[in-house]
Symmetry: C2
Subunit: 284 residues, 2 copies
Amino acid sequence: MAAEWLWVDGQQAAMVPADDRGLLLADGVFETIRIERRRPSLSHYHLARLVAGLGALNFPHAQHLAQESLERVLGWGCAHTGHEGDAVLRLSVTRGSGPRGYAPPNSATPRVIARLNAGLPKPCPHLRLSTVAINWPDQPYLAGLKLLARTEQILAIMDAQQKGFDDALMRDAQGRLISTASGNLFFRLGDRLITPALTQCGIAGTRREHIITVVGRSCGYSVEETVCELGLLDIVNEVFTCNAISGIRSVASIAHGGQAWSFDDQSAVGRLAPHIHLASSLAL
Amino acid sequence: MAAEWLWVDGQQAAMVPADDRGLLLADGVFETIRIERRRPSLSHYHLARLVAGLGALNFPHAQHLAQESLERVLGWGCAHTGHEGDAVLRLSVTRGSGPRGYAPPNSATPRVIARLNAGLPKPCPHLRLSTVAINWPDQPYLAGLKLLARTEQILAIMDAQQKGFDDALMRDAQGRLISTASGNLFFRLGDRLITPALTQCGIAGTRREHIITVVGRSCGYSVEETVCELGLLDIVNEVFTCNAISGIRSVASIAHGGQAWSFDDQSAVGRLAPHIHLASSLAL
């Protein structure tokens, strides 16, 4: 088991007050950041999502809170990564302690919690996915954000793993393809990269943003965010997922009830993968 | 400020491990129980919802876990209620500690967290409600359950209070009436009590269940769970809310954009209120 450090409001600490609203009501957001050779990867995308999440939850001074929290935690995390300098850093920002009830107290002081695990996981390169019983619920007001409330993804990955698959292919209530439980989805059709639009649900991942705004085009693809019906699987050449820690991974097969699709082509993965974990400077 | 006690896994403790999956991912459920003169109120309804929630989250041995957790926490809570014996007891059951990632470890040991606040709140008797920007998302798989993930209700009550109202009238994505942020909704139309069906979203409150299964009929009303469109407000005689702590409360007015409804009749509230906080025996 890799070494782990925990840090609560500026102090190394393994415990959090039991009246924290993150624990009581999932009142907060988080980011999971890849650190490679003591440098955070793509931290500006993490910052942007953190600001958006804190803003949607009506945290006061969301921009300042996000920036200050991320800077402090990155500084601490990058200094504790051990001799190889690789780690996974999770940052949570909760509303802080509060009394009973849904309404936050006026006096709420956000709490910043960080967890650092030395080393980086070696993921299986070829994912076998299955659709699952639970769907993403439509919630346009919160779509794309990385809130603490993650019930559907927990149930989705449990369902997929119980059936012997690596991850879940998660859909929305209309059956459209949205993501896996732990990453975003891309499809390649010729020179086009297609990724599900996340206007109603899903998490807008940092690597997804990086592919859409930078890497897709620089590798010679057009990139489209659009509605992705199940039938898309019949015509695409390649499927892959991405997330901040594991990067880009090929999808080898997808099972859905009695149907199955398999994919051999990994050409886009081969082209995109070297560019997916760009290091950020520590200054945001 | 009323006296407060906290209790984690059988011990008085103010802190919870920072790797608890309740805090990391909202992986758990909770109940908020009224204790009156050292006796829990309607604990069998709390138990039923706890079992359903733990079952939906695939906690192993959900029935046993729920029963044992509730019994232990009620025994502890009822012994610590101070000289008047009235208190609010919150019980959370989380998946326990876990490593990074959405999938729970096979070794996950659920954590039982309790919070007791001496005394009972004196709520304002006549609620002024307003509709709000955020809706309940449709999620039939989890509808009715009291999961830790409560983002929408937090945003709803913040929105309503910011506009100067007591609570939010929460609707679903189709605009149908579902609940307030902190309680269930009932409408009276003559001798009929009508409450929104919670097959797609919302929390199935203990008092709502008690009115549907016992108290409504015994007070001379028929009770219907059904789809409630906004137009229902034009024809009903009375509106009230209910929850486990504050019991039944009249709704005096509802605002929705430029529209407003007001309600003077409190006859159902008068008849139902004396029966809404039935004491349970400590043995479940």
